[in-house]
Amino acid sequence: MPSLDAETLCRQLAEQLRPQITPTTALAGIRTGGLWLAERLHAMLGISLPLGAIDVSFYRDDYGARGLHTKPQRTEIPFSVEGAHVIIIDDVLYTGRTTRAALNELFDFGRPACVELAVLVDRGGRELPIAARYCAHTLVETLAPSQNLQLERADDGTLNLRMIDA
């Protein structure tokens, strides 16, 4: 896999999003990597509606099999979802199950006018009919299911993409 520079990809994603931003656009980042990315995009794009944070722990489809194993955090949607143009932000799009969970959760806050998905990297391997409208990089090679591509944030705030072999 070629090394991916998360900082460059982040700027590219911001430029893809810029023409689509209207006064009713709100961003919601999926914890944890997606939220870091969303914080950046929110500032770079000068979005006026406050940033949302989604933790999908309570909406995951593997709760029955795995239980609540990751430490759940708050979901915070500080804008009115009703009638809003919401862009869900995630770091890596893989099976699509996390996006499904985030969509379900978002709709428990109201009925948005439209929802789009923006990701840093699409690694393929979809198990649901979900696609990202905005994507900075699409991996052409196939990663093994044991390989986990994830965003990390250094102490100085720098974003890095890292491959972890489980």
Binding site: D55, S57, F58, Y59, Y63, G64, R66, G67, L68, H69, K71, P72, Q73, R74, T75, E76, V81, N104, F107, D108, F109, G110
Partner: protein, 319 residues
């Protein structure tokens, strides 16, 4: 020793008591409860975690607050809740506790929330389920006799953490009828486990168990002395219904000596919080002005109780 609440991986299988429950698990429950508090602010106050699960509320003893908050918690997790009205059920016709449990298991119960006047009843049910190989069914103790009321203890810890952040510098006073109180026992276990350096119990000799010091608390028979400099005042309800014999003078006299008034509360730290598990006897253990005052966090306790019970149920059902 095998802790009957934990499975072989050390995860919570049942919640029966806070006595011996590891600090990590208590902290995990409190941490998990925090995001559940936010659900109440949503348009749809429901999460899909326990969809398709059946939870039976088995209350062999009266309760409004505890049963209702357990029911709300289960419903916010999308579980199906069945409340058994025990006074009109088969128990009144002579069915044994374990026969009732077996029948409910045959109705595909996933969890029992049990309140019973007999100490140990939830343990008996948990043991019975284990003996029958039903490790997929969970038991939550909602108060057994004088023994334990773990979810009350946990919601009290959540409340203290919410207002005071850190347990390790606190002085906490538990005041009143400790002898009859399962709440006090659960509070003492949790406070000690979480590292509170000084837990005081304050009350008349007749209402304190004789060996209470063994639980690691300081005993005070003078309320003013006991309240001096505390960060948290946890009042207990005077449990007239559990008393036999002359443990007490009249309620009026009890109030004079052991009732929490503004004048006595002034001896605690200025930012001390006042807690009460409910139901309150105004003018017996607590003055109305204090119960409704700025330092009281009695109603937030009730609200936090829903989130804490959601956390417990979702951690159990997810094992």
């Amino acid at each position: 020793m095998l802790n009957p609440q934990l499975n072989k991986h050390g995860e919570l299988q049942h919640l029966l008591t806070l006595d011996g429950l590891p600090r990590d698990i208590i902290n995990a429950i409190l941490d998990t409860a925090a995001p559940f508090t936010e659900v109440a602010e949503r348009e749809v106050k429901k999460l899909p975690l326990l969809r398709g699960k059946s939870i039976f509320n088995l209350f062999f003893e009266n309760s409004t607050r505890t049963r209702t908050t357990f029911e709300i918690a289960a419903k916010r997790l999308s579980a199906d809740v069945v409340n058994l009205n025990v006074s009109t059920s088969s128990t009144a016709k002579g069915e044994s506790l374990l026969d009732t449990v077996d029948n409910l298991c045959a109705m595909q119960a996933d969890m029992f929330v049990v309140r019973h006047a007999a100490s140990g009843a939830p343990f008996l049910i948990a043991q019975h389920l284990r003996a029958n190989g039903r490790n997929d069914i969970h038991v939550v103790n909602a108060g057994d006799g004088r023994h334990a009321h773990p979810t009350q203890g946990l919601l009290d810890m959540y409340t203290i953490r919410h207002y005071k952040q850190d347990f390790t510098g606190l002085t906490v006073a538990i005041v009143g009828d400790v002898l009859h109180s399962r709440v006090a026992r659960s509070q003492i276990c949790a406070l000690t486990t979480l590292g509170v350096p000084e837990v005081r119990v304050i009350g008349p000799k007749t209402l304190l168990p004789t060996d209470i010091e063994k639980m690691g608390v300081r005993v005070f028979h003078d309320m003013r002395e006991g309240l001096r400099g505390v960060d948290v005042v946890m009042m207990l309800r005077l449990q007239n219904e559990r008393m036999n014999g002359a443990l007490l003078p009249t309620p009026q006299e009890f109030y004079k000596v052991w009732g929490l008034t503004a004048e006595k509360l002034a001896l605690a730290k200025p930012d001390a919080i006042v807690m009460h598990p409910g139901p309150m006897n105004r003018g017996v253990e607590i003055d109305s002005a204090v119960a409704d005052g700025a330092q009281a966090v009695i109603l937030p306790q009730v609200t936090f109780g829903i989130a804490v019970r959601m956390a417990v149920m979702s951690m159990l059902a997810g094992q």
